[in-house]
């Protein structure tokens, strides 16, 4: 199973600053290993963020994102204690869901 994400969600006024660190190889499928064989593509294709049960961000991601990526979002109208749920899915069908509370 994939490694856990690290989520930080801080309230600044009524805007929640959400930051997530994802552990993922994000292989673009164009690199070759030391034997000259192509390293198969392995990257996150779907991502979603829910705040307090409501989907606030849904996105498709591609190969132009670094390994172990960091994403930052600003969400208006969030309250302290709201649950943030972040999900991702990659092209191999692996997925991971983690949650945190807004502080």
């Amino acid at each position: 199973m994939a490694d856990p994400m690290k989520i930080r969600a801080k309230l600044q006024g009524d805007v929640a600053d959400i930051r997530v660190l994802i552990s993922h190889p994000m292989e673009n499928g164009n690199r070759k290993d030391s034997d000259g064989k192509v390293v198969p593509a392995h990257f996150i294709t779907q991502m979603s963020v829910e705040v307090d049960g409501k989907a606030v961000i849904q996105g498709q991601t591609g190969t132009a994102i670094s390994r172990n990526p960091v994403f930052g979002f600003k969400v208006k109208g969030a309250k302290a204690g709201d649950k943030v749920v972040i999900k991702w899915q990659d092209n191999k069908g692996e997925s991971r869901t983690d949650e945190a509370a807004i502080a």
Partner: protein, 275 residues
């Protein structure tokens, strides 16, 4: 005759050119530094190194190895068995059970072989991260380092063994050898030197040594890998065209004792982020 005069003229231009060009170079350098400082400030709270801290914590607590014991219940980093808070900033230190001075990575390797029963050769085969591969020892060091965040470096230099290691480290830093007849001090022994756009910290001063030890272990954006200070030191040897030291070698420990000792009193900010 004419040719010689032309060359003379060119030399004059070159000599005149050096001053202003140098100043412009410095300005560009400052700007590049400032830009990277901005990036670092932005990334400090979202440093991928934290992912390795999490992994390291799991590894620290898990029962592993042929002896099926965890490091948390067997490994003494100098603060008592299993205690990791503040251990990193107080290493290198002398360990009676091992009879020698050890830095954090070396000590954890020692615990893995002596307590958990892992084979040293197995750990030393691929000790540093490359591409997607991150050795367990790297995550463990990152976890331990993270447990000293915002604490002051306090290498026990008054301890005679540590003092000796410090003095040997100082001598090693000044030792010139290899095909380029280089020592560490050639580049890192005086203020204001740089290679290309990279400022070189003077490790013989408190400020320089602090710059050199802060931010390790560090997550390197280039390649997206987590690297330890052992890696950094080995790479210095490689860049000097010295033979590369064996993994967790004495020579690295004494150099780290010298550098970290010089940084004593500075606040460690935890695992860092590197370009």
């Amino acid at each position: 005759m004419r040719k010689i005069r032309t060359i003379g003229a060119l030399c004059t231009i070159a000599a005149l050119g050096a001053g202003p060009a140098g100043a412009a170079g410095e300005a560009i350098q400052d700007k590049a530094d400032a830009e990277f400082a901005k990036f670092r400030a932005e990334m400090e709270e979202s440093n991928p190194a934290e992912l390795f801290e999490l992994k390291g914590e799991e590894l620290w607590k898990a029962k592993r190895g042929p002896n099926n014991v965890s490091l948390a219940e067997s490994c003494d980093l100098g603060q008592g068995v299993g205690k990791v808070e503040g251990a990193y900033v107080q290493m290198p230190r002398y360990f009676k059970d091992a009879g020698t001075v050890m830095d954090a990575e070396r000590r954890i390797v020692w615990c893995m072989t002596e307590k958990q029963g892992f084979k040293f050769e197995g750990i030393a085969k691929k000790p540093f991260a490359k591409d997607e591969y991150t050795p367990e020892i790297t995550s463990l060091v990152t976890f331990v380092a993270g447990q000293s965040r915002d604490m002051k470096f306090a290498v026990p230099l008054q301890e005679p063994h540590v003092r000796e290691a410090y003095e040997i480290g100082k001598a090693v830093a000044d030792y010139r050898a290899g095909p380029y007849d280089f020592s560490c001090s050639t580049c890192h022994g005086s203020d204001g030197l740089r290679i290309r756009m990279q400022n070189l910290p003077n490790i013989s001063s408190h400020e320089g040594a602090t710059k050199a030890v802060l931010g390790w272990p560090g997550y390197r954006m280039t390649g997206g890998v987590m690297l330890t200070q052992q890696w950094r030191m080995n790479d210095c040897f490689r860049q000097q065209r010295f033979p590369e030291p064996k993994y967790v070698s004495d020579v690295i420990t004494v150099l780290l004792t010298y550098m970290t000792g010089n940084a004593n009193g500075a606040v460690y900010k935890g695992p860092g982020i590197k370009r």
